[in-house]
């Protein structure tokens, strides 16, 4: 009898112990659906490397859940249609975590497909981890329980930009130049709203939308901006659309300021060159002179790939997934999603929180300016001899914006 009791106790202890560590050693496959070719290919390729770099860092002992992260990218050529095919093939191979970032048009298509899939396949849910797509709709009117955004959305970044502009009286005439798709439209919309609120004296002298990743020659746009007399351009452009724009601006001798979202992204630092010193600002959640852990990562990344790391949401995705899986004691997306809601973790620049209301990560934002490197700011993107230097830091509560999301949670 005694023996029986003993074995029951041992067995249940084993079971309990086993349950607590059920996820340990499991492999978590993440597939990112993003461009590796075409004009935006260099951006996707850089982020592919970043994901692989941090998968190594965060696997096994690198995360509290003790899981191993496995990562690969499927090239979507920046096309929503191709992305849906990629999603299908990822799902067929048993992947439950999908990452994506470049192109809100792609995010919208994937979000819709993921919602439908999860509705039709209970028990086989997948999560959409959004690392860079910033259309506010995804955490407002289109918000979904299965979507988590780790970047700061357009409204948050524009909040930071317009707050910064409050103290810049020399900005009088602003031009809005953006890509003609959801993201570009949102940047223009929030820029106008933010300026009206914080700098009603500023005049918006022009507004333009151009096709996404199609324009090779921005000279006509620059001529137009100059003719409009704008002293400042606000643009949400990224990739080639930003580097070619800046190149054309430098060639045409445009002397105004640029407020950008993505000036630190592949190709743009080289295009900025020395001529743009002091005139190009970036609103972001990361800049190349953060110090601490991030600085070490950046240096290590550069040594390994001879490329710059700039997508700071990627280590946060791994950190939050690890914490959520440890808390849920499982790698099942359904349980992990529940654990991610409201989760707070501390990463390279303090505490961040996945807001329960709308799944928008609350994080500090920075405005930094392009200038020559010096002793204190020595990391130089693309070895240009130039760097982004922090002007201000806006803590979580400043950069936070309200949401209209009515989240539908499963089983409720």
């Amino acid at each position: 009898m005694k023996f029986v009791w003993k074995s029951v106790v041992t067995a249940s202890a084993l079971l309990l112990g086993g349950a607590a560590l059920a996820q340990q050693g499991e492999v978590v496959k993440i597939v990112r659906i993003d461009p590796l070719t075409g004009l935006m290919g260099p951006v996707g390729t850089n982020q592919d490397k970043s994901y692989k770099f941090f998968a190594e860092k965060f696997s096994g002992k690198g995360n509290p859940a003790g899981v191993t992260f496995e990562f690969r990218t499927i090239d979507n050529k920046l096309s929503p249609t191709e992305s849906l095919n990629a999603l299908k093939s990822a799902l067929d191979s048993g992947v439950r975590y999908i990452a994506q970032g470049n192109g809100s048009s792609v995010t919208a298509a994937l979000l819709d497909a993921v919602n439908k899939h999860n509705e039709r396949n209970p028990g086989k849910e997948v999560l959409l981890l959004n690392d860079a797509s910033v259309d506010p709709d995804f955490t407002n009117s289109k918000c979904s329980y299965w979507h988590f955004r780790f970047d700061a959305d357009t409204s948050m970044k524009m909040e930071a930009i317009t707050t910064f502009m409050k103290d810049k009286p020399d900005i009088k005439k602003v031009y809005l130049l953006n890509q003609n798709y959801s993201h570009g439209h949102q940047v223009a919309k929030y820029a106008k709203e933010g300026l009206a609120k914080k700098r009603p004296d500023v005049q918006v002298v022009g507004e333009d939308l151009h096709p996404l990743a199609q324009v090779r020659d921005f000279a006509p746009y620059i001529a137009k901006i100059k003719a409009a007399g704008a002293d400042t351009v606000i643009t949400g452009n990224w990739g080639s659309d930003l580097s070619l724009l800046v190149k054309a601006a430098n060639e045409a001798g445009y002397e105004g300021k640029f407020f950008t979202y993505y000036a630190g992204v592949t190709g743009t630092p080289s295009a900025l060159g020395q001529g743009s010193a002091g005139r190009v600002y970036q609103a972001s959640y990361l800049h190349p002179n953060m110090g601490g852990q991030m600085q070490q990562w950046m240096n290590e990344f550069k040594a390994k790939y001879n490329d710059d790391f700039y997508t700071g949401s990627i280590p946060r995705i791994y950190a939050m997934l690890g914490a959520a899986m440890a808390q849920a004691k499982s790698t099942d997306p359904l349980k992990v999603a529940a654990a991610l809601e409201g989760l707070k973790v501390t990463t390279y620049n303090g505490e961040i929180e996945m807001r329960r209301l709308d799944h928008q990560l609350q994080q500090p934002l920075y405005i930094s300016v392009w200038q020559k490197t010096d002793a204190k700011h020595s990391y130089s993107p693309e070895n240009t001899g130039m760097t982004f230097v922090q002007q201000v830091e806006y803590p979580n509560y400043v950069s936070s914006t309200p949401t209209s999301c009515q989240m539908k949670r499963p089983g409720k």
Binding site: L36, T37, G38, L39, G41, P42, T45, N180, G206, D208, L209, H210, P211, Q214, R216, D217, A219, P220, Y221, A223, K224, K226, A227, S240, L244, E251, A252, G253, S270
Partner: protein, 340 residues
């Protein structure tokens, strides 16, 4: 005013690049009746070869060698593939060039990769060719190269530099136009080419090797595309999609200008370049036009995407609209001679 001048120059330089491309296409078409679908691929090859040769020899030698290499490839293609297909008629000819464009695209991606290359212009062509200076009184001045800093920083002065790469693009197109024209009208070989255009049998009975003339013309047309590639690749971007982006537009140029008409291609390229550049500057939409005419629109209609759409947003499709209009009202093109 300086906006007008700079935009006009931007438009003209883009138009002249289109002409460099379409001249070869129209030359080949008028001569051989072959609509070369792979023409833009030779343009891309020119850019990539210019980049690779330039890394070894420097830009200026590459500017000479790359078009020659592309021309040789074109001649080889004519000799080995196109000539064999010729006897089966025009459709197989069309199809083989169509196939070639895909083969070239894949080859380029295999050899040079799928990402854009850093094809930098040489030292001399970096920086402005000249600078337009508008001083405080509104008078326009001109300075070669970069204008002195104190002039531009003076109160009320506006400086508009014009990049040297674009100036070079215009210059090479004009030099090319003049030399092709001289070659066709003033030299013996030009006379033979012109004669072979209309009366190939007669020229053949006179003892000229007409197939060889065809091969040379095809090669020369491809070399012109290659030259445009080196210049265009340096000025804009060298990447695998560069053929696709100009591919359709040069057909517009050739059709609008009139199939086989060199002068027509010239006029059409300039029109399309200038129209596309200026369209970007026009913020008129259907809505603003109606508002100016005194028609009041309901708020719902004002928010309508079609009503709100400005000319600058539709700038990229204007050439195609132009193509449709020309095909409807003047099917032989602006300066074309043949009907249909």
């Amino acid at each position: 005013m300086e906006f007008f001048v700079i935009s006009l120059l931007n438009g003209l330089s883009y138009g002249l690049l289109l002409f460099m491309l379409s001249s070869g296409l129209t030359l080949i078409f008028s001569m051989m009746g072959v609509l070369n679908f792979a023409h833009a691929s030779f343009y891309m090859l020119g850019a990539y070869m210019g980049y690779s040769i330039g890394r070894v020899t420097g830009f200026w030698v590459a500017l000479l060698l790359a078009p020659l290499a592309v021309g040789a490839l074109g001649a080889l293609f004519e000799r080995l593939a196109l000539r064999r297909v010729h006897r089966f008629g025009h459709v197989p000819e069309l199809l083989i060039t169509f196939g070639l464009s895909y083969v070239v695209l894949e080859l380029v991606q295999l050899i040079w990769g799928r990402l854009a290359l850093e094809f930098h212009p040489p030292e001399v062509l970096q920086g402005p060719a000249f600078t337009l200076i508008k001083d405080a009184t509104g008078a326009l001045g001109l300075a070669w190269g970069a204008a002195p800093a104190q002039v531009c920083q003076a109160a009320g002065a506006v400086c508009s530099p014009f990049p040297a790469t674009r100036g070079f693009m215009m210059l090479s197109a004009v030099v090319m136009l003049v030399s092709v024209w001289l070659l066709l009208t003033r030299t013996r070989i030009g006379l033979v080419i012109q004669a072979a255009l209309t009366h190939p049998e007669t020229v053949e009975t006179l003892g000229h090797n007409v197939p060889r003339v065809f091969m040379l013309v095809f090669g020369a047309g491809c070399a012109l595309a290659g030259l445009a590639g080196v210049v265009g690749g340096m000025t804009f971007l060298t990447e695998p999609a560069m053929a696709a982006t100009v591919g359709s537009i040069i057909f517009v140029v050739v059709v609008v200008g009139g199939m086989g008409s060199l002068a027509g291609a010239f006029v059409a390229s300039l029109i399309i370049g200038v129209v596309q550049t200026f369209a970007v500057a026009l913020d008129y939409s259907l809505g603003s036009l109606l508002a100016q005419l005194g028609v009041t629109l309901s708020p719902a209609l004002q928010g309508n995407t079609l009503v709100k759409m400005t000319i600058s947003q539709v700038a990229p499709i204007l050439p195609y609209l132009f193509l449709v209009l020309v095909l409807i009202f003047r099917p032989r093109g602006l300066l074309g001679t043949r009907e249909g």
